[in-house]
């Protein structure tokens, strides 16, 4: 008792120093981590032989252009590729720090930021929609599966859950696209019909109008099925496992003995505890929302960040690729911090111990 009393001392105020110190410490490590990360990212991007110029020249030649040596030298200088990589790196980082200037995309011939920004709304929309689908469907189904463990429903859900994981997205996507062509006569490719795109081009529609267009949602079903099921299955499985653990806990029995209803037991006691791993998953979520998916997006022709990053990497459009990766890294670090904070908010034990839990 004595021990516990002294231990209880610093916890008098729930939001006193340990938590604040924890956040403060984490924020302090933020900067060196970002620097190391940016360096690693830059090195990785520079790892393949060649640079953007070779892509550019290869592209010109593919189009039947003739490129003179003088032109190559000129381009090299113009792109700043004649300098050693570390000079390029320091220039890049320096400009980011001092000027918030992330450099130019060679491929788009524009500053990096607008190139990223133009696909950002749809990326976020698609990611959020597919993710929300995963959580909104996965959590209840996971709970159902746990509460009715070993029932037929549990088996069916388990099977569907694993099936969703087992189906390679790129093949699933093309099967669905081909299916829409066979069934409706029109292949559902991308998120927009020609009418929507023309209306957007003419300014008659804004992207937020698009979001409420029925055709958009009809087309959205494929990404939801392809990308959403991935998240759904993961959520379903981890929710089921956690719920089973929680349902087996004594406090559930205690609550039941108090006369608390089953529904209340589930949502008050189990759900909150079982959300922990889901919340831990939040750490990667921000970055995922920013990037969207890559392979599925390529197959489904979704103009979102993932394919843009992939193309940039392939073309060695290094400032574009670097910036996207940097933002993703930043979001992961930030996401981890946020998820630790949310975890602490969810779970008083973590809150008071003031350290991240796993």
């Amino acid at each position: 008792m004595e021990a516990s009393a002294t231990k209880a001392e610093p916890r008098r105020n729930p939001f006193s120093s340990p938590m604040a110190r924890f956040i403060y410490k984490r924020v302090l490590t933020f900067i060196p981590i970002m620097l190391i990360m940016s360096l690693l990212i830059f090195i990785i991007i520079q790892l393949p032989p060649g640079d953007y110029l070779t892509t550019y020249i290869a592209g010109l030649k593919a189009e039947g252009q003739v490129v003179e040596e003088a032109e190559i030298a000129m381009l090299k200088e113009q792109f700043g590729l004649d300098q050693p990589w570390y000079v390029q790196y320091f220039k890049w980082i320096w400009n980011i720090i001092t000027d918030f200037n992330f450099g130019y995309s060679f491929d788009f011939g524009r500053p990096v930021w607008p190139v990223i920004a133009e696909v950002l709304p749809m990326t976020i929309a698609v990611s959020l929609i597919t993710m929300l689908f995963g959580y909104l469907v996965g959590i209840p189904l996971g709970i159902y599966s746990a509460v009715r463990q070993y029932s037929l429903g549990d088996y069916v859900l388990t099977f569907i859950g694993f099936l969703g994981m087992a189906m390679p997205n790129f093949l699933f996507a093309i099967l669905l696209m081909y299916g829409t062509y066979i069934w409706t006569g029109t292949a559902f490719i991308g998120l927009y019909t020609e009418e929507i795109l023309l209306a957007v081009n003419s300014g008659a529609m804004q992207w937020y109008h698009v979001l409420v267009h029925p055709d958009f949602w009809a087309r959205m079903t494929i990404p939801i099925l392809v990308m959403g099921t991935d998240g759904l299955c993961g959520t379903l499985r981890s929710m089921r496992a956690q719920m089973l653990d929680e349902l087996g806990c004594q406090y559930v029995l205690a609550a039941r003995a108090k006369g608390v209803s089953e529904a209340r037991i589930i949502y008050k006691y189990c759900l909150r505890a079982a959300l922990n791993p889901t919340v831990s998953g939040l750490s990667g979520m921000l970055s995922k929302i920013f990037n969207g998916s890559t392979i599925s997006a390529i197959v489904l022709n979704l103009q979102i960040m993932g394919p843009r990053l992939y193309d940039a990497l392939k073309a060695q459009d290094m400032y574009l690729a670097g910036t996207i990766l940097l933002v993703m890294g930043f979001l992961i670090v930030l996401g981890t911090l946020l998820s630790d904070i949310v975890l602490a908010w969810l779970d008083p034990r973590i809150r008071f111990e003031g350290r991240s839990a796993d």
Partner: protein, 398 residues
């Protein structure tokens, strides 16, 4: 010895046996208990059988497969699965096949387009190709026939294959690909890569994850802090650019399978972070348990405590996540093949086959090329169900 004595002895032995059996129930180790529980998990049991079949057929792929990876055949392009017949001209003659081929008429695109137009105007259904089956000669199926030579496991040279026809007429259980090769053979031979490399990758991640996670969790303090920051940095490096960079940076003379293995290994070197975090968490909660403290006071070395006392405590959890980690790598392999970063033909993996199937033309014209998908799904499902069963079995509360 009298009969009675013998009888008594036998009875005694029986009793002893019975006693031992009972004892074994009570004294069963965690592992046997787990195995026993696993045996009762129906899906896990079925999965185990399926995986055993898959791995065995991968092991004996050269023998089971009637063909090999370079048996290009310009006369058997994209043939549907061969039908196995039993009755020839109304007479039962045992399993046999007929020889089939596409009707050979060389037409230019222009001519075919004209033919289609003519057919459409006449209201006749049109198809560019027609399969011709020679139903006059049956080719009987035989066991242990001679076929392409192979070196089993790189050791034993042979040319005996499990089944085939004596005449050499192809038996294409799953049809053929666009280069006229037997899909069934490619599928089996591909499973040698697809089912083994994920093991290597997961295993490396595993060792590193456990080691660094346990060090981090056991010692805490500065070491923990450093490892945690390293994890944070590694976590924020997405794997796609790494794959792309590595596959571009690896010198050209390295064969594709080896290259793939190398990249898997390199990625595993940074893929341990997730597990390390879990292990660390477990260690943090276990390290102050009485038995650990006691061992430490007794002067047992740290490494020994970690390996002998702590790791076994959540080994079951580790085994489960190992089982669950492999399917992810199988799927990952197919994704890498999709991006052209995986194994390249003629070396084959399931990813290569799926990548080949991933075309509208194949889906519409040669749907049998989707059969590898069924294998991937089944293998992944089996690993997952096995993992699921193991989790249930490892759970001491149920």
């Amino acid at each position: 010895m009298t009969m009675q004595e013998k009888k008594a002895l036998r009875a005694q032995q029986r009793a002893e046996k019975q006693r031992k059996k009972e004892e074994s129930y009570y004294l069963a180790s965690q592992w046997t208990l787990m195995a026993r529980k696993l045996g009762r998990h129906h899906l896990a049991r079925v999965s185990l059988v399926i995986l055993a079949i898959l791995y065995l057929s991968a092991l004996f792929a050269d023998f089971i497969a009637p063909s090999n990876l370079t048996a290009y055949n310009s006369k058997a392009q994209s043939l549907p699965p061969t039908q196995i017949h039993l009755f020839h001209e109304g007479e039962f003659i045992g399993p046999f096949v007929y020889e089939s081929a596409w009707e050979t008429k060389k037409m230019s695109v222009k001519e075919m387009q004209a033919a289609k137009k003519a057919a459409q105007e006449a209201g006749i259904p049109f198809s560019t190709k027609q399969i011709v089956t020679d139903t006059t000669t049956p080719h009987k199926l035989r066991l242990f026939v001679e076929g392409p030579a192979y070196k089993w496991l790189g050791l034993i040279e042979s040319n005996i294959h499990l089944f085939g026809t004596e005449s050499g007429v192809g038996v294409y259980l799953y049809g053929t690909d666009t280069m006229g090769r037997d899909l069934f053979s490619r599928l089996l031979l591909g499973s040698q890569v697809s089912l083994t490399i994920p093991f290597a990758g997961t295993a490396i991640s595993f060792v590193l994850g456990i080691l660094l996670g346990s060090i981090s969790g056991y010692f805490g303090g500065k070491i923990d802090n450093v490892i945690q920051r390293v994890i944070e940095v590694l976590n924020s490096l997405p794997s796609l650019p790494l794959w792309m960079a590595l596959s571009a940076a690896i010198p050209p003379n390295i064969p594709p399978v080896q290259m793939y293995l190398m990249i898997t290994v390199i990625l595993s070197l940074i893929g341990w972070t997730g597990l390390a975090r879990v292990v660390r968490g477990k260690f943090m909660s276990l390290k102050n348990e009485d038995f650990v403290v006691a061992a430490r006071l007794a002067g047992v070395s740290d490494m020994k405590i970690i390996l002998k006392h702590l790791v076994p405590g959540f080994m079951s959890y580790l085994i489960v996540s190992l089982t669950m980690g492999i399917p992810g790598m199988i799927i990952g392999e197919t994704s890498m093949s999709f991006l052209g970063l995986g194994i390249q033909a003629p070396a084959t993996s399931w990813g290569v086959l799926l990548k080949e199937a991933q075309s509208v033309t194949n889906i519409a014209q040669n749907p049998w090329c989707l059969i590898p998908l069924i294998y991937v799904v089944i293998a992944v499902l089996a690993f997952n169900f096995l993992g699921d069963g193991m989790r249930d079995a490892a759970d001491p509360y149920k």
